[in-house]
Symmetry: C2
Subunit: 206 residues, 2 copies
DNA sequence: TGTTAATGACTGTCCAGTCAGTCATATTGA
DNA sequence: TCAATATGACTGACTGGACAGTCATTAACA
């Protein structure tokens, strides 16, 4: 049996290839059901090679889910510097970024993986809470606080429970990864409807 | 080595005990990481005994998640027969039931398990979509449709995306099972705030 | 005494992680 | 320019442990 042709690579590149393959495998079958050989095969290399780049399966997983800390927060966080931008615009931008950068990419599976495997990897959950959730909520509190003060919110109490604004985004990901195959959900419509519900109608004009 | 004392049981009862033990184990560690011996030990029996009641691990899991089809839908479904009840009351009742019967019981873990392991068990996902999601959304469509017609909704378009009403409930479960240990979320407040946001204020009195 | 629930040692399989050996490429020196 | 040599990325057969599922034996009850 002839050995497959060997191909040398820039380690940096190899690493990225392995991570990409791992994302596909973990997203498809979860942590436990993914075999290191699957990841290797998908990356077009032998099993041993994976271990030249990652010490073990758990670390491969953790590196993967930690590396997704997307630039979304940075962009939205930057927007709130400008106090004149209406809160609705900021939240709408957040949803758009979320849709384009997470929901419509492979990253949506990562989010499901964190929900799914989180309790098995407290390190990951803690990282996400600290780096993503806390920061995201802080930004939302600022934005919604201003909106409440300006009368942009139909119900000012929303500013006290920013998790409520994240709920529709969470729903779109859960639906997309579980039920989309059985019944379509228009994520854009869901998010837009929510925006139209929490914010007072613009201008009252037409 | 003395064998542990054997205790005979009504098969019906044994079955229930095993399911209870399995729920605790699966909720704690997920499907893959749960050993059949763990389930047996937790139920106070030997491993072989589990196999007298369930053919294999997968079937045990499926029976478990399928058997949670709670009476919530029945109760709420019954309420919509009476057209005079305000939509807000119906949705509020739905949230209360959800909170008492799912969020504050072991079942909250079942919900997380379905999110987590769903893609590995299409049978389970399909069952949930067909038996729970579809029926729940149908009820919500009726209730929200009426509400829109009566002017009870701040934004009538909500009636077209009933998933939006499920989103806050989903958020409370996800938060409770992942982040509650790091940061408390007042589920009641979140749900109440949402109700106050989508429904027009009552009477305008006070 | 016969019937059946219950037991737990056992078996076969699967897979994470290892490591001795291989080969593509780079470097050296003529 | 072209061997000769060195380097380390890459390979995949192998090992050790874990665990799902089995079944011969044992104990409980009628």
């Amino acid at each position: 049996m002839p050995e497959k042709k060997r191909e040398r690579r820039d380690p940096e590149l190899r690493r990225a290839e392995i991570l990409k393959a791992a994302l596909a495998c973990f997203a498809e079958r979860g942590f436990a059901a993914t075999r290191m050989e699957d990841v290797a095969a998908r990356a077009g290399i032998a099993k041993g090679t994976v271990y030249l780049h990652f010490p073990d399966k758990e670390r491969l997983f953790i590196e993967l889910v930690s590396g997704i800390a997307s630039p979304i927060l940075g962009e939205v966080g930057g927007m709130i510097q400008n106090e004149t931008i209406p809160a609705r615009t900021v939240v709408s931008m957040f949803y758009s970024l979320f849709k384009r950068e997470v929901l419509e990419t492979e990253r949506r599976h990562m989010l499901r993986l964190i929900l799914a495997e989180g309790p098995m990897f407290p390190v990951v959950t803690e990282f996400y809470h600290r780096e993503i959730i806390t920061k995201g909520l802080a930004i939302l509190r600022v934005v919604l606080g201003r909106a409440a003060a300006r009368g942009e919110l139909r119900n000012p109490a929303v500013a006290e429970v920013p998790q409520l604004v994240m709920a529709p985004a969470l729903m779109t990901v859960v639906w997309a990864t579980l039920f989309e195959g059985y019944e379509h959900l228009d994520a854009q419509k869901l998010l837009d409807t929510f925006l139209n519900t929490i914010f007072v109608p613009e201008g009252g004009a037409k």
